[in-house]
């Protein structure tokens, strides 16, 4: 199996790659900040590796199927209070990384719920588009 990023034609970018861009280090940052970024990416990368080892199957407890949607989620901690949810699905011999969002631990209120729901709907849209055109992807290194 191969892991790829979904590439959205309308925005001409990979939504997950765009999310992960914030963790690209730059030379002006302090070592502590650079290490923090490496750590977050290593966590996500390790979990993607685990998904690959299991042929994209949603093996609990780390990978979950989202009810009402056709994709799975990988959960990874950003820090004590924020969870990163990475969404993917399987298509033929590919594990397609669709999108990611951050979920604060202690959020309340309909506004946040709605925002998350919107993002999940957008992600479902990406999945549908990919199914129609399976060439919409970029290599995951």
């Amino acid at each position: 199996m191969e892991v790829v990023y979904y590439k959205d034609k309308a925005s001409n970018c990979c939504p997950l790659k765009k999310y992960l861009d914030q963790y690209i280090k730059n030379d002006t940052e302090k070592p502590k900040e650079r290490n923090r970024k490496d750590k977050i990416l290593a966590e996500i990368s390790g979990k993607i590796q685990y998904v690959l080892q299991n042929n994209g199957n949603p093996i609990p407890p780390l990978i979950k199927k989202l009810s009402g949607y056709d994709y799975f989620e990988i959960r990874s901690k950003k820090n004590q209070n924020i969870l990163i949810r990475v969404f993917y699905f399987r298509h033929e011999d590919k594990i397609v990384l669709l999108n990611a969002l951050e979920k604060p631990d202690n959020y309340s209120g309909e506004r946040e719920d709605r925002k998350i729901e919107q993002e999940l709907e957008i992600t479902q849209g990406y999945l549908n588009k990919f199914k129609l055109n399976p060439k919409l992807y970029e290599k995951y290194e």
Binding site: Y5, Y23, L41, K47, Y50, P61
Partner: protein, 165 residues
């Protein structure tokens, strides 16, 4: 302006590919996998015992939050806590070998060996070349002998039919 240049430079780069160049990233990555494997083992064993996270936490004299963190692969365990998990979830060497990705060797000794071949010296090797995990005699007919943590098995005899790692 500098930020804009950085953004433009980042546009076509794979953040993961970039991170993989870093030594720190590699170090962190090595720590992630055992945590993920432990999470799976804890979750599967807990489910097999029909325990909730809360019930397991109570038995371990810990909290549900700790169990949840371990099952999400978000916690680095100390040896004491790992021991409590292993005890309450009845972990055996198979579980631990899977968590720490140690080799496992199954040695199947031929049952139709001739009489003078029934005793053979066997060296079960671990990661270090100089320190065999076991040196001993295998009696033909033992059928299957299990060595956790073995990386390979060396024997001068042809009575070993199959070594599965």
């Amino acid at each position: 302006m500098k930020n804009m240049n950085n953004k433009l430079a980042n546009k076509n780069r794979d953040p993961m590919g970039e991170a993989r160049k870093s030594e720190k990233f590699r170090q962190y990555s090595e720590n992630v996998m055992p945590r993920i494997r432990l999470a799976t083992e804890v979750y599967n064993s807990r489910k097999a015992l029909g325990l909730s996270q809360q019930a397991l936490a109570k038995e371990m004299n810990s909290t549900q939050k700790v169990v949840s963190k371990v099952e999400n692969g978000d916690m680095n365990l100390g040896i004491e806590l790992l021991n409590r998990f292993a005890d309450k979830l009845h972990f055996n060497s198979d579980h631990l070998a899977r968590v720490f990705n140690c080799g496992q060797a199954y040695v199947i000794v031929s049952t139709d060996a001739k009489k003078n071949e029934t005793k053979n010296e066997l060296r079960v090797m671990g990661r270090s070349e100089n320190m065999p995990l076991a040196v001993g005699t295998i009696v033909s007919g033992t059928a299957v002998t299990y060595f956790p943590s073995a990386s390979r098995v060396v024997s001068a005899s042809n009575t070993i039919k199959h070594v599965k790692k």
